[in-house]
Amino acid sequence: MSLSESEIERYQRQLLVDGWDQEKLKRARVLIVGTGGLGGVSATYLAAAGVGHLRLCDRDTVERSNLNRQILFAADDIGRPKAALAAKKISRHNPEIQVEAIADALTESTARDLASGCDLIIDGLDNHSDRLILNKTACARHLPFVYGAVDEWMGQVSFFHPPQTACLACLLPRDISNRGPIPVYGAMPGVIGSLQATLALRYLLTGENPMTNTLLIFRSDTMNFESVSFEKRPECVVCGTS
């Protein structure tokens, strides 16, 4: 799969990056579930980088209260479906790639279909129970899963790819979703979504996972990044061996 003259011009600055393989990115297919605060940012950066095929899934429509953090959407998008809007805006930014919009609700059954043919899954969700569904699908299909979550002044990111690593259920096995609206301001999912895109690009380009069994926590109240190491749990109901 070779690059057109237009692609070479578009990507010329990143082609200078040591180890960059644009053709490899062009062949890649990524599923992003959720196109809001996290998913909108990671989708934008993966599209800009030239990931060849993005599958965006979101069943929601745009609400006014989304606009403080969901940067793909504008005031005149209120009431319209997020997945289709996100795909349109991302395609405008980079018409050289293919962007697919799917408005399905996430279930174990739809997740299997959504992940079909993809090389990697990115979590752009807003609740932990759906993340556990996506984690299960990623494990069953042996796909890498780039996890991210935010709350108030805190955000966290990790990269799961069993059996080489633990999975999300090893780290957080029970549903920890808060009841009621989660406090969040736009720059926090901006940071975490950018880190997710960075992890995804690193993996797609090199096949390496730069953070095995590590949770990276960003605290914007103290401006600290903290790494927490954890173990794969043999008794994990999703990826365990016992």
């Binding site: 991210g148 935010v150 949770l215």
Partner: protein, 79 residues
């Protein structure tokens, strides 16, 4: 012995910090687990999603030693 419990987010106020904005000092008999320490200060462990000490994940059965700082993390689940 003395240990320090540290929490951010929506868990911070429930911890009643007294050392600084995030930290509570707890005097406790040695050999207690984190579950027993949380019980002693009437902090419901259901509010705690993750526990880590010196960059390593721990669980409620972990027994801290004198002077350690235990980080209690609230649920982080938004997007």
């Amino acid at each position: 012995m003395t240990i320090f419990l540290k929490a951010g987010g929506q868990l911070r106020a429930k911890l009643n910090p007294d050392v600084d904005y995030y930290t509570r000092k707890v005097e406790i008999d040695g050999g207690k687990t984190i579950a027993e320490i949380l019980d002693a200060i009437s902090l419901n462990p259901a509010f705690v999603a993750l526990i880590h000490v010196d960059g390593k994940l721990k669980d409620l059965s972990y027994t801290p030693s004198d002077g350690q700082t235990i980080i209690l993390q609230p649920p982080v689940s938004g997007g």
